[in-house]
Structures are given as C-alpha cells and as structure tokens.
Amino acid sequence: MTRRRPPSWSERVYAVLIQLLCPPSFRDRFGQEMGDFFRDRLHDERARRGRTGDLVIWARALPDLVSTALREHAAAFVNPLPTPPSPPSDSMSSRLFSDARFALRGFRKHPVFFGVAVLVVALGTGAVSTIFSVANAVVLRPLPGARDASALVEVGRTRTGEQGSLSASYPYYEYVARHSTSLDGLAAWGMVPVTLSTGNHGVQGLGNAVSGSYFSVLGVQPFLGTLFAGSDDRALAGEGVVVISHAYWQRELAGDSTAIGRPLSVNGRALTIVGVAPPRFVGVYPALRTDVWIPVAMGPELRGEAADLTNAGISWMQLVGRLKRGTSASAAQRELSAVSAQYVSAAGVAEPKGMSEYTAARVDRVAGLPAEVAGAVAGFLGVLLAIAALVLLIASVNVASMLLARAVVRRREIAMRIALGATRLRLVRQLLVESLLLFGLGGAAGTLLAVWGTRLLQRVELPIDVPLSLDVSPDVRVLVVTLLIALATGVLFGLAPALQGSRTDVQSTLRSDSAGSGRRRSRLRDGLIVGQIALSLLLLSSAGLFIRALGRGRTADPGFQVDGVVTAALDVGSAGYPEARGRALYRDLAERLGRVPGVQSVAYARVLPLSMNISGRHFSVPGQVPPGGHEGDAISVNTDEVDGGYFRALRIPLVSGRVFLTSDDEQAPRVAVINETFARRYFPAGDALGATIREDSTPITIVGIVRDSKFAKLDEEAAPFLYQPAAQIWSGATNLLVHTLGTPEAVTAALLREVSSLDPSLPSPRVTTLRQSTAVVLLPQRIAAAVTGALGLTGLLLAAVGLYGILSFSTAQRTREMGVRLALGASRTGIVQLVLGEGLRLVVVGITVGLVLAGMATRALRPFLFGISPLDPLAFASVGAVLLGVSLLAIWLPARRASGVDPMRSMRAE
C-alpha cells in the first residue's frame, strides 16, 4: 500500500500538538500511531465531505487531545513510572504544564488584575466573534440541510459587460438541464407569494415552485413523508401535492406527525401535504423563510402568468446545480455559456429582444444569498468585521500594557530567578504561557459573549416585508476561529511584554529597592497607550460619520410625502382571486377607507418607493438608441403601476399634462406618466407630452409629466422613471397607500376591519407607515452606526481604563519621587500639573495619530454616507472632544492622588 504522501498541514499541526501536550511516557509509545490514526481519518473524511472534513476532524480531535493530555499527565503524576527513563521535568510539555500551573497560581494571587484582563480580552474577541458569526451565517456557511453543499452552484444568465444576472425562464431551464454536461443535475425554483390556511383564516407566507429535480439535486432528505421528485415536471401538475417546512409544521400544525396526507389550502387551492422538509433546510436562500414547496407545474395555477412554463419571455426562476465531481465552477461556466448561446440561437425559442442578448452563463458557488447581493453584503460585513477587529486590537494593546506593567512590578522576582539560574528563554516562555492562558480564557469568555450577542441580534426586527429566518448563532467554525484569533493575539501581544520583562539588569534591580527605580517609563508602554487612543478615535469617528449620515438620510427629501401615509401590502392574487373579483375588492376597499374620518386620499401602487424593490420594463422611444444597441431597440426603464390617486397621496407634483383617470382602464388606449428626467433625457426637444412610445408593439401615449422622486436609493442620481395605470396592468399583489390627517392607528384598525369584512378568509395584511417601510434604505447606516457606536464606546472605555491604569501605576511607582519633590518645596498644584502634563502628552499624540488614521480610513465609508464628507468636521470635532474629555478624567484621578502624597511617609517607607 503506498500511502507516502507528504504530510498535510493538519497532520503536521497534530503531530506538533502531540509533542507539545502529551507527557513523554505516552507520546513515545503512541504518538506515532496517533498521528497515523489522524492521517487515516483525515483521508477518509476528506473523501466523504471534502474540505469541511478537516473541520469536523479538528472539532473532534482537539478536545480529545486536550483531555488525553490532561488525563495522561494526571496518570503520570499519580503513577510516575515512565517507561523510557527520560525524566518528565525535561520535556517541553511538562515544562509548559508547570509554567501554566505557575501562571494560574499568579492569577489567583491577583484576581483583580486577572479578571480585568480576561474581561478586556473577552470584550474584544466577543466583538469579533459576534460579527464573524453573522458573516458566517450569511455568506460563509454552505447551504444547511443539503448534502455536500460545496458542490452546489447557482446558474444565471448574463451578457458581456454586465455584473448582474438574469433569472431563468422555464424553457431556458429545460434546455440547459437537457444539454449541459458539466452538471450532475440542475434544478429550478421560483418564489411564489402564498396564502396558506389549514382552517378558515389565511396566513401570508413564501412558497417555492420547484422542479422535480430540486430535492434530489440539493440532496435533501424528508423529515417526514416524501419529497416529490420526478424528471417530468408537467406530470406533477395534477398531483396537487405540497411539501411544508419543518418550521411551518411546528408553528401551524403543532408538529403533528399525522399531518402527512392532510389538506393545506395554498392560494385558495386545496393541496395534499406529502412531506415535511428537514429542520435545517429552508431553501436555497436560507435567510428567506420558505414555508412550502410546490411542484413547478402548479406555478401557473397559483401565480398566474408570472409563473408561465411555456413563455420563454418570463424569467422567474433561479437555477441551482450540482457540479460533477472534478469539475470546477469556471469550467462549468464556460460550458454553460456555450449551452446558453446555443439556446438563444436554437429554433423555436421566442425570447424578447432584450433577453436574447443574455448569451452567457454565470456560475457561482451557492452562497446563501443571490450572487449579485452576496458581494455587497460580504463587503459590508467585511467593514463591520474590520471594526470589530479594531476593538480586539485595542483590547489586546490594553492587556499588553497591563502585562507590561506587571512585568515591571515583578522585576525583582524575575531578577531573582535569573540570579538562580533561569535562562532568558525559560522566562520568556513562562511569561508567554501566562498571556496565552489569559487570552485563551478571554477567548472562551468572548465566545460566550458572542452566543449572547447573536441571540440579541436575532431579536432585532428589520423593517423589511420578507419573512426572515436566519440562524446566526455561532457554530464550530466560529468557535475555532475565535479561539485561534485569541491565541494568536495572545502570542503577538504577549511577546513584547515578555521580552521586555525578561530583560532585566539583575545586579541593579536586586541591589536597588522596589520604589526607587520607577522613573524609567517604558517607551513601549507609552506607545501602547497612544495606539489605543488613536484606534478608539478611529472607531468613534466612523460611528460619528454614520450617525451624521443617518441624520442626513432621515431629513433628505425623497421627492414624495413620507409622513402621514399608512401602507398595507395586499395580495388577493395569492388568495386565489381572478382579476375581475380582485379589482372589485380593491375598489370597494378604497371606497370604504375613503370614508374613514381624517383620510385625505387612498391610492394603490404595485411597488412602494424606497422599499428596496424595483422593477423595469423595456420600451422603444422614437429616436432613442440604448447604449450599444440599434435603432428601434428597447430601452430599459424602471416602472411602477399606480392609480390616479397615487400622485396626490404622495404629493408628487404634476409638472404638465394630467395624471391617470378612471377612464384609463383596460379598454382604453395605453397611457403613461413619466418623470422629468425621462422627459429631459429622451425628449430633449420638450415634446414628450402626447408622444407615443412602444412596449413590444403596443403603443403607449405619454399623458403627463411629474416631478422626479427617489425610487431605489436616497442618494441615487435622478433616473428616467415611468408610471403606468394599475387599471391597465393587473397585478394581484399591490400596496395600499392611505394619506391621513388622523393617527396611523385609526387607519390601521379601519383597514384590518374592512379587509376582513370584505372577505374573512383573506390573511390580515401587514400594515405599516411609509416612514417605516422606507426606513429600509437606511438600514446599512443604522446597523453601521449602532455597531461602530457600540464598539467605539467599548474601545473608548478600554482606552480610558488603560490610560488610568498606566498613569496610576506609574505615579504609584514614583511615590517616593513625589515625596521628595514635595519635601523640597514643590507645590501640590505643581505635582498635579506634572502628572497631567505627562498624561496629556500621550493623549494629544494619540488623538493626532488617530485623526491621521481616521482621515485615511474613513474614505472607505464614502458610499454609505449620503454625501457627508468622510472628513466631516462636525463628526471629527465632537469625537475628538469626547475623547479628550474622557481621557482628562482618566488622567485627573491619578494626578490628584499623586498630589496627595505625604512626603514624610513616602520617604520613610523605604
């Protein structure tokens, strides 16, 4: 058997750990074999799970190794007859062991020092660990509940020069699934808003219409019953089956195991529950709470035209595939691009012009988020992680300076040990073990903090209208990373104090007394204080900038009325209403609400502005050519479907022409209202009003021009926008807007009452205010301000404690000097000034360095600041002032104490 490969990184680390931890008696007999065992298992697990195998192995091997080492040490201690005659005291591990024992003894003697240091490390590692947990859950964790998720990829259509991708139409999916050779199966899924009900009253939820290959491609096993499967999707149409999520099963069916075979009403249609998905599986984007999975063939029935299986022009599905063994994502991307190009040119594919330009495919590893968003979210989390790392840095610097101070106190002890024959290496190791223990314990406490912190985070409700179900609690990966970070910082920040501590001039130290040699303040320690102040300034100024940005965002004029508008998301389409009945209900509801006292106007819009929801359509405008296109090609414009009352309810002023009238209905010729930018850009001659544009071949007359308003982002450039009458384009899902002079609560109550009196089976809509629903665009700033603020204050606190500690310590060391000064006639004020001056020097240097650092770093925040300068003087000045104030307090206390020295006593104490 030839197994002689070079040992992997994991194997080497394992071998080193055996050497370090296990007592020689055990290690010499079994060390080699344990290594072999570890290698064999590594080999097997990697074959089974790929790279995650390493993680699994380490998660099991580390505790095993530690407990083995401890027990064998204990056994060797109880029964000291080592098989080989090497004395245990000579081995590296036993020496480390005794070092650790020694350190623990020291900690017990100074519980306050030790407690504070561990707490400081815990705060730092806790911050990193919490943010990393979130990043881990959102971007790093492979699809939970799926088999071998590392081989899963998302497939999207794209075209040259475009970053984003296009969803797939069902015909595209069928074509690619049939022709691709690089995938071991491809599945399609599309979101379907659903109204679910087991009794009379419905609940809104999210469904996925999935191809028959979905569960098998993802490798999901049923928790109960079966998961539908089959290569012929259309055959599943008549079955009327539904798979429910584990959470829905628990929530709505009380986890009843007889649920299989029971009926469940989905969008008004009775389906049969055939299976329950496993608890951890919640769909391809785990952040979205998917409640049910239905066969794709039922999509049209439940969602109408928007889920058509035959129309190549309707792209509503996401594709997920499993890479063949040994195929890379980039190879698959090349192959699928070729297939996409074939598809576009294949006979019988009737795609609209805009779509057939998407001849390439894009293949991304499944990341738990849509590939386009994943990058941005990862970037944002990266910024937060960097900020958390800064807090850890401050904490580490703080502990380093504490260790350094302690090393000074222990100078005599250390000098004594050197005199007794301890080597420098031995001393450094002793001090290093101490700091490792400190950081290790702090890291463990930090993970506990992260468990608590993530739980807190999960309780925060986000102002978005999609149900979220994200499990951000730390897992083994977070645990391992946190401990590794803690230990690495322990080595990094323990080394300098250890080196300095061990560099002691034995003769002079032993000869002189403890208090007399305190004057020499270490430059390193000063540097550490300066560093802490600079870093907290950096953090706080980021927080200050985010807070300023939030203020700007709140007061920014979006171009429409935000206050006094109550909104409700309605969806009669998903409740099984056909168009005519749906329209009638919406009309009745508006009429009834119009009679509620205080209500000024009632309107409908398919999409609310600034709700992170945007959709575009293609129009051909006479004389206008899209960039890179040909004469007559369609231009993509963002659109919304609204009724005539919309502009009044939101106070969007009409510039010229008219808004929609009740006469602009299905029978009437198509009309549109455009914004000023649309008019200016596409009709530079000013002849927009009355002009005709086309969607495919349907003529649309422009009847009005309204003022520009924000639609996607608060800081967006004004872009062309087009409104069409909701009466001419039916959508079962819409948003109701009620402009009221009364309280939102009164309207909310009336709204819920009227909806349920019109149709008691309709789910109660989620009612909110426009102010709240548009707050979602400020979400990144809110999160960033909260996180940087919390972390910045932690940093400031740490820096203040550090400053106070160091100054108290150094003045205490100089008690005798102060006594002499006072005895020689120095005034108490003079002493205060002396200490203050010394502290202030550090603070001023720290603030200066911090300002320079912040000036360089905050530039990265520019995209989040709504035009506030990254060097905003207000933010910087106020942060500088806060920092200066807190530092002054931290300096003042030791200075006052120093001035209170009794000269007689301080000198007699020698």
Binding site: F26, E33, M34, F37, A61, D64, L65, R71
Partner: protein, 119 residues
C-alpha cells in the same frame, strides 16, 4: 501486573468492547476504532487520544499486547503496530461476559419492559 483476572472485574464498557473487537483477529488502531464504532452502532466513537489511552491501560494490565506476526505483505504497512488479545485478556473478557450474562438473566432484569428499537 495482576495475575488473578477477577481483580480486574468489572471491566469498563469500552475495555470490553475493545477486547471483543480483538477476539476475532488482530487489528491496528484505526481499523480497531472503526470496528468498535460499527459494532456499537456509532455509540462508542474513539478518537485517537482516547483509543490509545485505553490501549495503554489494557497493555499495562496485560490484557492486550503488540502482535509479532505481520499480515500478508500487500496489506501491510510496516509502520503500523497490530494489537492482539492475550490469553489472560481472553480469560478476563470471558469472565466479564459471564458476569454480564448472569446479570442480564437475573429476575429483576427480566422484569424490565421491552423497549422497541427506534426505526
């Protein structure tokens, strides 16, 4: 090293499982751990450290020793050590099994209700 096998009773469950796994043939460590996991349906999973601690104890007590024989050449990896059960170990295991048998067939044990295996 004790000479009376009875002084070693009762055995720890892990010890017995390991001895039983060796009754049918000698094994090296990794295979032994796999065998044990299989026999106990995954209940006893030995990580390397723990496994060799048990082996150390059994070797020290004379229940197990390192085999001198090597398996057929092509299956052999010359670095591996194979463990086998000693005659003394066999007697201890037999006595332990006997003890357990007596325990299981006692009236009190029989009176316990049967619990169906989970599907």
């Amino acid at each position: 090293m004790p000479t009376d096998p009875r002084t070693l009773l009762p055995l720890k469950p892990v010890d017995l499982v390991l001895l039983l796994a060796l009754v049918e043939g000698e094994q090296h460590g990794y295979a032994l751990a796999g065998e044990i996991a299989e026999r106990t349906e995954g209940v006893v999973r030995l990580e390397p450290g723990n496994l060799y601690r048990v082996i150390r104890r059994l070797v020290d007590d004379g229940l197990v020793d390192v085999s001198q024989k090597r398996p057929v050449a092509e299956l052999d990896d010359e670095r591996r050590r194979y463990y086998r059960i000693t005659a003394f170990g066999g007697r201890v295991a037999a006595l332990e099994v006997q003890r357990l048998r007596a325990l299981v067939s006692s009236p009190a044990a029989r009176a316990l209700p049967a619990i169906p295996a989970r599907a």
